[in-house]
Symmetry: C2
Subunit: 359 residues, 2 copies
DNA sequence: TTGTAAGCGTTATCAT
DNA sequence: ATGATAACGCTTACAA
């Protein structure tokens, strides 16, 4: 049996070089530039490495020397465990990882819990760049990312000078949704939206809070809706708008209940995400209301489950968002910063919206 | 306007120390041991840091010195983009990230594509440990993980001496499923299973390949099924078993079609995962077969979608698997290696299995 | 083809 | 409370 490598101090490149009787350079080359060595010598080095249990050059030491971490960080607005429950976030991850795969860099998940201001995870991440996904504009983690001397790409957020950006035109897409409902004849509506700030809060939202929302995406979607309905003569300040901190089907149901409590007579319920819309439909069904005969419901995102149930929604290319984010960040020739990629969305008329019931 | 920090060589701890006129130690302490400094001096250091645009100690250099990467690696058997489509894998991730969150370590995703033997991502990952999730026993990436001089936890895999393990008793759980179907009266059955090896392959699987499967989980589930049906007098070598490389609903449908082509007279179709079972049900419905009246179907895993559709399945605590994996790896007092955590499973009789149709 | 020498930026230890 | 010194393990001009 071989001597256990655990009994000795672990082998290093230097100790291996000493063992073989060559310089450290040679051992380094054996690993990193095999063509710079005679095959025979390389074989001797590798044999000795196996014998000593040398696992190859230490990644951290290499990173320090080469100034390349070989990974990028992804800043997520949620406890990680939570993010994975959101199909849109998962699709974004899919796209991003695709690009990481082909660039051969790792992906380090960096959670940014909204209830924590501890930024050490961001400051301590050994990465060559960051992607920030849908962070509120006042988040300290986001600031910490921008403070790091590495490139960053932000996604679904307001532009930051000198930082690449990927997003969609939430305002226009929401406006299209509003126009669709207006055209169908809806004038008495309600809205369930995702969280507007970092502090937990559920319930009715007045116009001031809508416009001051720290989540860019929600702010713009609400603005687009407001524009569309205002243009149709709807008094927006009387439209019940309910914010739900949690993003889940159950939360959508609670939001719908809150809206209905504020105005039981609405003919259409607009959710700013498909997940919330699905919960809203659940709640309506529990109340023996038919969708769309009694109440129309619309979502946003175009996640798979929503499309399968024929939800009227706006389909956005979430996976492409991830791909573009990765591409911008990993682009070897990133001479220009501050690039913007605005992806197209498509309105999808499903089976959950119809003209309001005539009474 | 401040002088741009981009114009100068980036500040380091040393340059900051020189600027302030103190030693490097003092600057280091200002960041890592604030109590070792007079508040006044610390304030001076921090002020200078802000002025010079010093972003704080470099994570890589710190890692080299402290011999702590502050992250763990997760080895996944798939292209990452693929893994996120599997609800069970996502649940595992959820559990693992929960533990990472509370231990304040990052999670580095390391993809191990089955069609690639390139192990550099594993060798080059700056991590303090690895979790390997459901890798085939002959995978070079897995070997590379075990070769790294950091602790590892393996999940859903055969035991490796000296390495912690988390898993379930797949054999016993599958046996229970078989017993359930036997009891209902099923003798003519078919099986759709997940991939058994790293090479792409779809179609009928003979006993030799079943027993030689490189995926421990699939091997054991098949063995459990075989044991149960053999005990009931079913000739297992005549049971159509079909392997599907891809793990998706569509793939499950194709697998079901293949099984039905081999024996159109089966009364029960067993899938070794819920995702495959859902596809099988789709395929049966396309053929105007009712489930369970015409054909019974069972799954495995207990993912949310399966439970919602009342699939007969085995529920395994996937999220707990992730939590235990993280806990074992991050356990500060990991004196003992080679620990085993075997989690319980529960059989769940749903609405998709019933006695075979009488003819 | 191989070796020399100079860092990469930090923290631990020990001294003052 | 602050500082001097010595690593941590590696890569890479450049020289031989």
């Amino acid at each position: 049996m071989e001597r256990s490598s655990r009994s000795r101090p672990p082998a290093t490149l230097a100790s291996l070089a000493a063992e073989v009787g060559v310089s450290r350079t040679t051992v380094s080359n054996a690993y990193n530039r095999p063509d710079q060595l005679s095959p025979a010598l390389r074989a001797r080095v590798m044999e000795a490495a196996a014998r000593l249990g040398y696992p190859g050059p230490d990644p951290v030491a290499r990173s320090l020397r080469t100034r390349k971490a070989g990974a990028i960080g992804l800043l997520l607005t949620e406890q990680l465990s939570y993010a994975f429950r959101d199909p849109a976030a998962v699709a974004f991850l899919e796209g991003l990882t695709l690009e990481c795969d082909s660039a051969k860099v790792g992906l380090l998940l960096v959670p940014a819990r909204p209830d924590s201001d501890d930024v050490t995870a961001v400051a301590g991440a050994s990465v060559d760049g960051f992607v920030a996904y849908s962070m509120p504009d006042d988040d300290p983690h986001l600031r910490a990312v921008l403070a790091r001397p590495v490139p960053a790409v932000i996604c679904d957020q307001p532009a930051v000078p000198g930082t690449d950006l990927v997003g969609i035109d939430d305002h226009a897409a929401a406006r299209g949704l509003a126009d669709h409902l207006v055209e169908l004849g809806h004038r008495r509506i309600g809205v369930v939206c995702m969280r507007l700030g970092r502090a937990r809060r559920d319930g009715a939202v007045d116009l001031v809070r809508q416009q001051a929302a720290h989540y860019h995406v929600q702010r713009n979607r609400l603005a687009g809706l407001r524009e569309g309905f205002t243009a149709a003569g709807v008094a927006w300040d009387r439209v019940p708008v309910v914010e739900q901190f949690d993003h889940s089907v159950e939360s959508g149901a609670r939001g719908a209940a809150a809206v209905l409590a504020m105005d039981p007579g609405i003919t259409a319920l607009i959710a700013t995400s498909d997940v919330l819309a699905m919960g809203a439909i659940d709640e309506l069904h529990r109340r023996r209301q038919r969708v769309p005969e009694d109440v129309s419901v619309s979502g946003f995102d175009g996640i798979r489950a929503a499309r399968e149930m024929q939800l009227t929604t706006v389909v956005q290319p979430v996976e492409d968002k991830g791909r573009y984010a990765g591409r911008l960040l990993l682009d070897p020739a990133r001479s220009t910063r501050g690039r913007k990629v605005v992806l197209p969305t498509t309105f999808l008329a499903g089976q959950t919206t119809a003209p309001p019931r005539v009474r």
